[in-house]
Amino acid sequence: MGHIVEIDSLTYTYPNALEKSLDSLSLNIKKGQSFGLLGPNGAGKTTLLSFLCGQRKDLTNSIKLFGSSSNELHGELLNIGYAPQELALFPMLSGIENLLFFAKLAGLAEDKRLGRVLEMLKAVDLQKSQDKLVENYSGGMKRRLNLAVALLNDPKLLILDEPTVGVDPQSRNLIFEKIEELKSRGVTIIYTTHYMEEVQRLCDSVAIVKEGKILFNGTLDSLLESQKNESLEQCYLQLTGYEVVD
């Protein structure tokens, strides 16, 4: 099985920062894998994800997506679905208007656009609120819409950055079900979260990152085995340390 994501010794320091955000980070993600990216705040997870989405193309010689160097990616970017940690939506527009806009950018043909948008609204159970302004949505509805936008282009690689923050159990469950369905269809998923039970439910491989370096990279079972611990949370704390990270 080929790698969809290949990262080789990626190092990055933000302008004016003293410490590296990513420090010689190497990582491979196979096609169809559901990959959990864990780490304390400021570990470099979001920075890494933004690189995978094509941000700073000039600096990403050490990243290959779909077998191509990420600075050579053009149309391939449309195979990526990205749900950022922030709710990247237009609050003053309705749910359907948001989806229609992103569908246009995703290059969906005009005759198929509305159909796909309605399909996504149904998938995240928002068809009844499709005409409501997003600013009037609840936190869970916004998160579901955020996921729907990421799924519009039927991506081969889905990147989800903490998609369940501030979400009620019903919405969370719906998001999990949708991700499981995508997983079963062979979509490669990169998933970051601070909730260990989510990783246990959704991911088969995991990488733990701290201060831009990989502390562990392997399957969930091998992680539990290596730390001689039954709880993923204990493993995580043993690897990343117990002190609070600001």
Binding site: G54, Y82, A88
Partner: protein, 393 residues
């Protein structure tokens, strides 16, 4: 190109959602133009004013009555009184701008035969020096005219007795007070409306920095820009997509402000603001000025980390550029070194382009160099925006 089109349509949609903000965006500059034009109507009004209040403290002798009569020819607001209590207090309270005290022995001064008290002039301390000089000059002329009239009357009597014919010359001079004709040159000085309408309209146009930076920083902070990354959109496409809707807004704003200047301001003042013919040159200048103002707004948006930063830096920079650029103080009344500094302000080039059209009937050949400067400014601002662009906070 397709992406740019989608981004433009989306930005317009978002703008249309907030109708109140959009209304303010168009109404406020119109109100600004109206009130500023009214407030500044008399700023460059020639300094002979009906508004200068002069109190003449004299007796009612024949001589003083004649002086007052001559002085009234200059259209001052003159009050003729014989007694006055507290000259200084009256000036401080600004009841009078000038008090002229003419002694009873005025006839002696004019004839120059006997010693006499001098004529005393008191000016309100805050009265402009040039007004003071003007009143002094006019009063001297009034005195001379009165003397000439008296001499003429005497000569006429003598003439009737066939003694002197020279009096005719003096008589003619005395009768023909308009022997100096004021000529105008090509260096037209705009009337207040002609200066303030384009100047303050441009000033308002540059304030597009507030809505544009709001929109840009909101999209950056909410992660929308980051999400757009996944759709293979370049920085340049994104910036152009942001720019064009605001250029359209700017053009509409400017057109509305000009219409206020042409049709509403003249209802309240005697000055007219001639828009002239709406020709392709006016449209071109407005387009280039809009490109310059929105490029500047984009620059402020990309270098600012927050809306608060953009809202403090942007307007302050505009006020400074307006100060240098001849918006607040017309370029032609600035000291020489300030006139050189004004060349650094895009507002100067924009304003001069409009004044060329409105006042000097300029052609494209004359306006083009100014438009090149504005386009150069826009290109630099856009280039720096591209360089400073960040997808996320």
């Amino acid at each position: 190109m397709k992406n740019i089109k989608h981004l433009i349509v989306q930005e317009i949609k978002v703008l249309l959602c907030d109708k109140r903000a959009l209304g303010i965006l168009f109404a406020m500059p119109m109100i600004l133009i109206l009130f500023l034009s009214l407030a500044l109507t008399d700023v460059y009004h020639q300094k002979v004013g009906k508004k200068i209040h002069i109190t003449m403290l004299t007796d009612h002798s024949k001589t003083t009555e004649e002086i007052v009569q001559q002085f009234k020819n200059f259209n001052y607001h003159i009050e003729h009184i014989t007694e006055h209590q507290g000259i200084e207090a009256s000036l401080k309270k600004e009841k009078s701008d000038v008090i002229i005290e003419i002694p009873k022995s005025i006839k002696n001064i004019l004839v120059g035969t006997k010693s006499a008290d001098s004529i005393k002039m008191y000016f309100r301390p805050t009265l402009d020096k040039s007004y003071q000089e003007l009143v002094k000059g006019h009063f001297t002329i009034a005195l001379q005219s009165m003397v000439i009239d008296q001499v003429n009357r005497r000569l006429k009597k003598m003439n009737e007795s066939k003694e002197l014919k020279k009096s005719v010359v003096i008589n003619q001079l005395s009768q023909n007070k308009n022997f100096i004709e004021v000529m105008t040159t090509n260096n037209v000085i705009p009337n207040p409306i002609q200066q303030t309408v384009p100047a303050w309209a441009l000033f308002a146009m540059f304030f597009i920095v507030i809505p544009l930076s709001n929109s840009f920083i909101r999209d950056r902070n909410s992660g929308i820009l980051k999400r757009l990354l996944c759709y293979n959109i370049s920085k340049a496409e994104l910036l152009i997509g942001k720019l064009i809707p605001y250029i359209l807004i700017n053009i509409i704003q400017f057109s509305l402000m000009l219409l206020v200047g042409q049709f509403i301001v003249p209802l309240f003042t005697s000055k007219d603001f001639s828009l002239g013919e709406i020709n392709s040159l006016l449209i071109l200048v407005t387009l280039v000025c809009s490109i310059a103002s929105t490029s500047f707004a984009l620059l402020v948006s990309t270098v600012s980390n927050s809306s608060a930063q953009a809202h403090s830096f942007g307007p302050l920079a505009i006020v400074i550029m307006a100060l240098f650029g001849g918006v607040m103080i017309p370029h032609f009344v600035m000291p020489e070194f300030m006139q050189y500094l004004s060349y650094l302000s895009p507002l100067y080039w924009a304003l001069e382009s409009y004044l060329d059209i409105f006042l000097r009937g300029a052609t494209l050949t004359i306006v083009a160099p100014k438009l090149y400067v504005l386009l150069g400014f826009s290109l630099v601002a856009f280039g720096v925006s591209l360089k400073k662009f960040r997808w996320s906070e």
